[in-house]
């Protein structure tokens, strides 16, 4: 099948009575179904599922995969997403039946290996964060934020200030998830502006905090890829006002073994194991968003957590736990991969991860600022944000530049984020890219900048080499077709 040929949907290639499975024999005596299910509860119309042979299913999904781009295919500098290489040995390890074939309610003495892994991962993350203890339960960063904010709420409630401390402060450069999570946790949201250097405007923060402040959510390095060098003062301002500090760990790839959120003054941290700790992104999950908290907040962690006694490891609920946010113990299969990654790299390896992530980002920024506007010209951390505003003068938007990159076989950076940068282009190379890849990317970005000037139509018509051309998103939203249409 040609790469650019459209692939009909499963139901369009279905043939009546074809099957792609085998089941064990039904070897027990059967009774009439109507004896087991009252007629009124039996299905009347059968679901229209496809009927396909195994080989048809294999070819269908193999061909779909050929129309998809992953880190395994090429450079994927999607800012804030840390698209690093996903080590294959971790896949093999997570697939070991001792990890992938265990039931969450087995007696604890039969899953000591799994519990030990969780206990140790909790400790490793606490050491990396510079805090006391973790909960591995949240399924993704957003759920980690939500759980962390509930801990902040529980802390204030325990001090009799629950009603009063109803506000969460979020920078204008923050991920949209931050305010959305604060809303889910029942807080009202106050926005603190950025200063001219791209950091939190400290004077404005001083004005915002008060007895109504529950906490501040911050990414550090922030979404511009810049280290908040006023962090100690920021932490003091929030703590003095009686609030707590939440660290959005989406950008933790720059800090491993270099600096720690706990040492900066943060009280609650979430890590995205699918970003910093190399577990694959899976086309949009599963991720894992463990949270790590200070000693004082351990009692509020979502349960269960793993504890250790002489006889072995066991599950327990912290004393004033906020409860559960996720079934069972979180995305265990993802935890296994992150654990293996940490054990493979050790302290020195993790530090090299961050050093090289920062080196690669600065190398790209150093070159690309000659062709694209760099609104905050400072040493960056693991990522940086360009603006497409010079190209905009030729009628070429950041979206056009992103689409043109696809023609050159590269995944586009994150675009139009953070919101405080006009025509933003957010680039995160990660440590797993070579200088040769970076040099090629620089060349391509220069070529596109030239094209924007000399031949803007070519950029605006992009992409032309992909399986489909630029898709009409307005049409998709105005006339939503959200399932296969019956023929």
């Amino acid at each position: 099948m040609e790469f650019n040929q459209q692939i009909p949907l499963l139901l369009d290639i279905s043939t009546p009575d074809r099957t792609g499975y085998t089941l064990p024999e039904l070897d027990v005596p059967e009774v009439e179904l109507t004896e087991l299910v009252p007629e009124s509860l039996l299905r009347e119309t059968e679901p229209q599922l496809p009927e396909l042979s195994e080989v048809e299913v294999v070819r269908y999904f193999t061909n779909l995969s050929r129309r998809n781009y992953g880190v395994d295919v090429g450079f994927y500098p999607l800012g804030s997403c840390t698209m690093k290489y996903n080590p294959r040995m971790n896949e093999d390890i997570a697939a070991l039946p001792g990890f992938s074939r265990i039931h969450p309610y087995q007696p604890e003495h039969t899953v000591q290996g799994a519990l030990r892994l969780m206990y140790e991962l909790d400790q490793y993350l606490a050491e990396i964060a510079g805090l006391a203890k973790s909960s591995l339960q949240p399924a993704a960063g957003a759920q980690g934020e939500y759980a962390g904010l509930l801990i902040i709420k529980a802390y204030h409630e325990a001090r009799g200030e629950g009603e009063q401390r109803a506000e969460i402060i979020v920078p204008d450069s923050a991920h949209g998830t931050n305010p959305a999570s604060a809303m889910m946790a029942g807080f009202t949201i106050k926005t603190v502006p950025s200063d001219e250097r791209g950091g939190v405007n400290v004077a404005a923060l001083k004005e915002l905090v008060g007895p109504q402040t529950a906490g501040l959510m911050l990414t550090n390095p922030n979404t511009l890829g810049l280290f908040e060098d006023n962090i100690v003062e920021i932490a003091e301002i929030v703590h003095d006002a009686g609030g707590l500090l939440y660290y959005d760990g989406a950008n933790a790839n720059a800090i491993l073994g270099i600096t720690r959120p706990g040492d900066m003054g943060f009280d609650v941290v979430h890590f995205n194991l699918h970003k910093t700790f190399s577990t694959p992104h899976g086309g949009g999950g599963p991720g894992a968003g463990p949270i790590v908290v200070s000693e004082e907040l351990v009692q509020f962690l979502p349960g269960p957590v793993v504890e250790k006694a002489e006889e072995g490891y066991y599950l327990a609920f912290p004393e004033k736990s906020i409860g559960r946010v996720k079934s069972f113990y979180g995305n265990f299969g993802v935890l296994v991969k992150a654990y293996a990654y940490i054990r493979h790299l050790g302290a020195e390896g993790l530090r090299q991860v961050s050093e090289n992530a920062v080196l690669n980002a600065n190398y790209l920024m150093h070159h690309l600022k000659n062709a694209y506007h760099l609104p905050y010209d400072r040493t960056c951390m693991h990522e940086f944000v360009l603006s497409g505003k010079w190209q905009k003068e030729f009628g070429v938007s950041t979206l056009d530049i992103a689409k043109r990159l696809l023609d050159y076989g590269i995944h586009a950076p994150t675009i139009y984020f953070p919101l405080i940068v006009e025509e933003a282009i957010m680039i995160e190379p990660t440590e797993t890219e070579s200088k040769a890849t970076l040099d090629r990317f620089i060349q391509i970005m220069f070529t596109i900048a030239e094209e924007a000037k000399d031949n803007p139509e070519a950029v605006k018509a992009a992409p032309t080499t992909t399986p489909v051309g630029r898709l009409n998103e307005t049409q998709a939203a105005r006339n939503p077709i959200l399932r296969r249409q019956a023929k």
Binding site: L33, P50, G469
Partner: protein, 451 residues
């Protein structure tokens, strides 16, 4: 180390380009007092061979389902997983991609999600399904939030025969927004929702009522009776269903469900100590679609008229609406949704019925065998693949003895409700054989006689 390809020489060359002499120079913005002056306190690194050996050792400390015959369920099941699945989802183009922001080079993932939405809609007979949720429990919590938001009522009815973990998760989500969970009792004889508790005054205040079909005890609810009450009062009917039951049981859309959620981990995902699984979320009509949480994929065209797929209706989502979004969810469980899609493609129309049929027949065989052996059923309702058995037995101890024979017994319900201290929840899937069931019954009979 760290999968860093750059050699020392290349690193030095890059540093020179930047006008730096050491990598330390790049961290100048980090105040000196915040720099970590010692190595992280972590175990020594292990090379690939040693790591795999070490991890295999750790894994071997767990007893697993290749060696245990499981009658344990309660939300995680030993269903059969076709081999093909791991090979397809292991393809790097799927595994190592992220959320399909660049649609033109993400048609594989986007079309797969579109298929997932289509198949969930077919199974549930609802109007629209989203791209996936973290798991069934958080999907239900979000459904309850949607109902409150939609009806502008601040209470939701949730039955006490819901999975206890799901119930507590729903409570956490609702109470954090000052919404109230009204727990609806179940009848002690049947284990089913006590319809008498649904008095008109109470129901008129509810944003909706949740019905688990089957419920936590495996029992089959008379959903229509609940539907009539809640819908007359202007609330929504929310159903939490087992997708593997839907080849046999009436589709939620045919009962009048407004929102349907469930856990689709049973559709081909490894059991993996309970996660990652995947939740699904489907609604009945247009008004609810615009308030749905999560990613949604839609079909559209390019300038040449080629069909293609994109993320759509994004004005609901956090990256655009921030605190006004319908939810904070962004990354979901795409790879597990892909697994479920492949599973449903393999099983198809007849397979989905056959798996459900085998589950209910084999579970019934265990049930009848236990009755013959003198055990009692805790509830007298009809059931799907799980049911509750009652006996004057120390179930914990009994399970320990079963383990010695390679059997994983059911979930003792003392942890759920003191009144059920003498009961255990058993689960039977299509993977069990008559011989295994017979031996399991023989062992239980032996322990109940104190032998």
């Amino acid at each position: 180390m760290g999968f860093v390809p750059n050699t020392k020489a290349e690193q030095l060359e890059m540093l020179k380009t930047l006008g730096c002499s050491t990598i330390e120079d790049l961290f100048g913005d980090i105040p000196e007092e915040l720099r970590l002056k010692r190595p992280l306190n972590l175990p020594e690194p292990l090379a690939e061979y040693q790591l795999i050996k070490y991890m295999t050792g750790l894994a071997s400390k767990n007893k697993h389902l290749d060696h245990l015959v499981s009658f344990l369920g309660a939300g995680a099941y030993d269903h059969i997983v076709p081999s093909v699945i791991k090979h397809l989802v292991g393809r790097g183009e799927f595994l190592t991609a992220y959320t399909p922001y660049q649609a033109e080079i993400s048609q594989g993932v986007l079309q797969a999600i579109f298929e997932f939405q289509t198949l969930i809609v077919e199974l549930t007979n609802m109007e629209v399904a989203n791209a996936s949720m973290y798991d069934g429990a958080s999907a239900l919590a979000e459904a309850a939030l949607l109902a409150c938001n939609y009806t502008r009522r601040d209470k939701i009815g949730v039955p006490k025969n819901l999975h206890p973990e799901w119930l507590s998760i729903v409570k956490v989500y609702l109470e954090s927004q000052d919404l109230e969970v009204i727990e609806i009792p179940y009848q002690l004889e049947t284990g089913l929702i006590d319809l008498a508790a649904l008095n008109p005054q109470l129901v008129s205040e509810l944003a909706g009522i949740v019905v688990a079909q089957p419920n936590f005890f495996g029992g089959l609810e008379d959903v229509s009776a609940v539907a009539a009450r809640v819908k007359d009062a202007g609330g929504l009917l929310i159903m939490a269903v087992d997708p593997l039951s839907l080849g046999l049981l009436k589709a939620p859309g045919d009962i009048g469900a407004d929102i349907v959620v469930g856990d689709a981990g049973c559709l081909g995902s490894p059991i993996s100590f309970g996660g990652p699984s995947v939740g699904f979320f489907a609604v009945s009509g247009k008004n609810l679609v615009r308030r749905m949480p999560g990613r949604i994929v839609g079909a559209t065209t390019d300038a040449q008229g080629n069909t293609g797929y994109v993320l759509t209706l994004q004005t609901r989502e956090q990256h655009i609406r921030r605190e006004k979004a319908t939810s904070n969810i962004c990354t979901n469980q795409a790879l597990n949704a892909l697994i479920a899609t492949i599973y449903l493609a393999l099983l198809g129309k007849t397979g989905i019925k056959e798996v459900g049929y085998q589950c209910i027949q084999k579970a019934n065989y265990l049930k009848q065998s236990l009755l013959k052996a003198g055990f009692k059923l805790r509830f007298n309702s009809l059931t799907f693949k799980e049911f509750v058995v009652q006996a004057e037995l120390d179930w914990q101890k009994c399970n320990e003895r079963l383990l010695e024979h390679g059997y994983l017994g059911g979930l003792p319900l003392a942890v759920v409700d003191e009144k059920l201290a003498d009961s255990v929840l058993l689960s039977v899937t299509e993977a069990r054989t008559k011989a295994e069931i017979d031996e399991f019954v023989a062992l239980l009979r032996r322990y109940s006689n104190g032998v």
